[in-house]
């Protein structure tokens, strides 16, 4: 039991990347033409917009420099929720602490990219495009990955952005249209009249849509997609009217968005990637209360999400990963806040996660202009998510070969 959690093995001083690892045997395909992602694996990305203060999220409470550089904002040993060694979670992250103890939470330390950019927009673009070197916003890393999925994605909903106003750049593809679902109402067929009339009308639509050949004409394609759309929306209407989360969700924004994601997954929408965002992390002044609220929202929402999926027997199929455009500077500023920094931790949640702390906490003495240095390139994380989780080829999506992390069980 404990072996999963006693994982504070730093795999070499440079982090935990192992170059040239072979694919995990479970992911090896039996033969060519194998279907991509046969067991319906799903990746949920949670964006923490504004630059999360990773140092007060995964807290190295015994480091002298932490106490020295964070005299007002520092979290003490007594308050932090103990993980392993001298590391603890922010006191408001009780949900994450329970996930950690249950073996469902992995923490990847010190993630970033070379020559960190401290502008929100540019750094967020870098995380979304996986192109730190050049400014090219044509498409995103997930969007590019769609193009290389074995078996193709035609007519399928490849991904869904939930609750965002615009399609996040990471999901932008030059070939596929990814729906932005502001709320689940977008996914319902709007009809009028009594229940019986609506049911009759829907049945009529279904009957008129089906019956094409299995051919490849545009009309055949439209018929198949229309039939799927009607069936899926019927399922979603069903889960919306009597959806019972295995555990209640908190009444916060992220919790409600994740509840919608769980409903779409339960309804078997067929999307491989879901994207949700939580904003407000740009805590330049009076950070303490604001950050505590965000930690509480993040932790309680994701704990509820995991419990709900588990209750529906889906927690093996779903992996959730968080990211933020940067961490914050080690030294607090004069306004009881923190300014834009560099490397930060990422969280992985799900039954498939190898729970524990992966990689060393970045040094608090060897800094880059006052910022934490990354030891794990974010493109290594992306490569791991694409290849070892979704079984999608990653090289073209992330722009090269990057070593993978051993964060999946």
């Amino acid at each position: 039991m404990n072996t999963r959690r006693t994982f504070l093995k730093t795999l070499g001083a440079s982090g935990l990347v192992s170059l040239g690892t072979r694919p995990h045997p479970a992911f090896a395909r039996a033969a060519d033409g194998g279907k991509a992602n046969p067991d319906g694996r799903i990746l949920v990305l949670v964006q923490l917009a504004g630059g999360n203060d990773g140092l007060n999220t995964v807290v190295p409470f015994e480091e002298d420099n932490y106490r020295k550089l964070r005299p007002s904002l520092g979290i003490g040993k007594g308050a932090a929720l103990k993980l392993e060694g001298a590391l603890g979670l922010h006191p408001q992250m009780q949900g994450f602490k329970e996930l950690f103890d249950d073996g469902a939470l992995g923490i990847v330390q010190g993630v970033g990219y070379p020559n960190p950019n401290r502008s929100h927009f540019r750094s967020m673009d870098i995380w979304h495009t996986a192109k730190p070197g050049i400014e090219d916003k044509r498409d995103g890393w997930i969007g590019r990955a769609f193009d290389h999925v074995r078996g193709g994605l035609a007519g399928k909903v490849p991904a869904v952005a939930l609750g965002t106003d615009r399609l996040p750049l990471s999901l932008v593809s030059t070939k596929f249209t990814v729906p932005t679902v502001r709320s689940l109402r977008d996914y319902q067929l709007q009809l009028r009249g009594s229940k019986a009339e609506q049911a009759a009308h829907r049945a009529r639509m279904r009957q008129l849509a089906e019956g094409g050949s299995a051919g490849n004409s545009d009309l055949d394609f439209l018929r198949r997609t229309a039939t799927t759309a009607l069936d899926t929306s019927a399922k979603i209407a069903e889960v919306m009217s009597d959806y019972k989360p295995a555990k209640p969700y908190p009444q916060n924004g992220l919790g409600q968005r994740l509840k919608s994601v769980a409903q779409l997954i339960t309804a078997d929408l067929g999307a491989s990637v879901y994207f949700v965002s939580l904003g407000g992390f740009d805590t330049h002044a009076e950070q303490e209360g604001a950050h505590a609220g965000l930690m509480q929202e993040l932790s309680s929402a994701l704990a509820a999400f995991h419990a709900d999926l588990k209750g529906h027997g889906l927690s093996k199929r779903v992996l959730t990963a968080t990211f933020s455009e940067f961490g914050r500077r080690v030294k607090e500023n004069g306004s009881l806040g923190t300014d834009h920094g560099a490397a930060g931790p990422m969280f992985f949640i799900g039954d498939a996660v190898k729970a524990g702390v992966h990689g060393k906490h970045p040094s608090l003495t060897d800094l880059d202009q006052g910022d934490l240095k990354h030891h794990t390139d974010f493109r290594s994380v992306y490569t791991t998510l694409l290849e070892d989780w979704l079984d999608w080829p990653a090289e073209a999506a992330v722009g090269g070969k990057f070593g993978k992390l051993k964060v999946l069980g």
Binding site: G155, V157, T177, D186, L189, A209, D218, G270
Partner: protein, 185 residues
């Protein structure tokens, strides 16, 4: 330089055929139009006149051979049903369907064709039909005309299963606008 390359005329011919005639032009279509482009030394006016007056343009192969772009779908439906569109509402719907006016998601522009269509976007296309009938896209007169009238306006062809439809006009119009066939032009 660029124009002299033989791929240039073919590239433009392909784009024109996709935009105005059919989603999946054959090699023969492309070769023929590329030759006309070169013959006119890339002057677009005579090329377009020929293209839009060509046998191909009026042929059966070019009918119902393009998947409507969101703007064609929304504005076309308004036009067919005599609705003066609320352009803000149209742009909002079109944006949900993947085509924000003057704001393509990528610099490559809209790829079009089948990439407009997913189960989600088809539902939203269907919901647009309901919103239009509800008057949310602009004032609309209650549909009262005959089946054949709407069939001609909305589908320009007979569709299996609709030939003997006896639904009341409003339901009939909705059914026609949610048919897979309605997505084609």
């Amino acid at each position: 330089m660029c124009l002299a390359h033989k791929a240039c005329a073919r590239f433009i011919a392909f784009k024109l055929l996709r935009a105005f005639v059919l989603d999946q032009p054959t090699d023969a279509h492309i070769t023929a139009l590329a030759a006309r482009l070169r013959a006119h030394d890339f002057a677009m006016r005579p090329v377009m006149r020929e293209l839009l007056g060509s046998k191909l343009f009026f042929s059966a192969a070019a009918r119902h051979a393009r998947i409507k772009e969101p703007l064609e779908l929304t504005l076309g439906a308004c036009r067919a049903l005599g609705v003066r569109p609320n352009l803000q509402a149209i742009n909002r719907v079109s944006g949900q369907l993947g085509q924000s006016v003057f704001e393509p998601a990528t610099v490559k522009g809209w790829e079009g064709g089948r990439l407009w269509i997913t189960s989600a976007s088809l539902l939203q296309r269907n919901n647009f039909a309901m919103a239009l009938l509800d008057g949310q896209m602009g004032q609309i007169a209650e549909p009262k005309k005959s089946r054949d009238h709407y069939r001609e306006l909305l589908l320009s062809r007979e569709v299996r299963g609709m030939a003997k439809a006896k639904d009341e006009p409003r339901k009939l119009v909705h059914l026609m606008m949610t048919l897979p066939e309605f997505q084609l032009t």
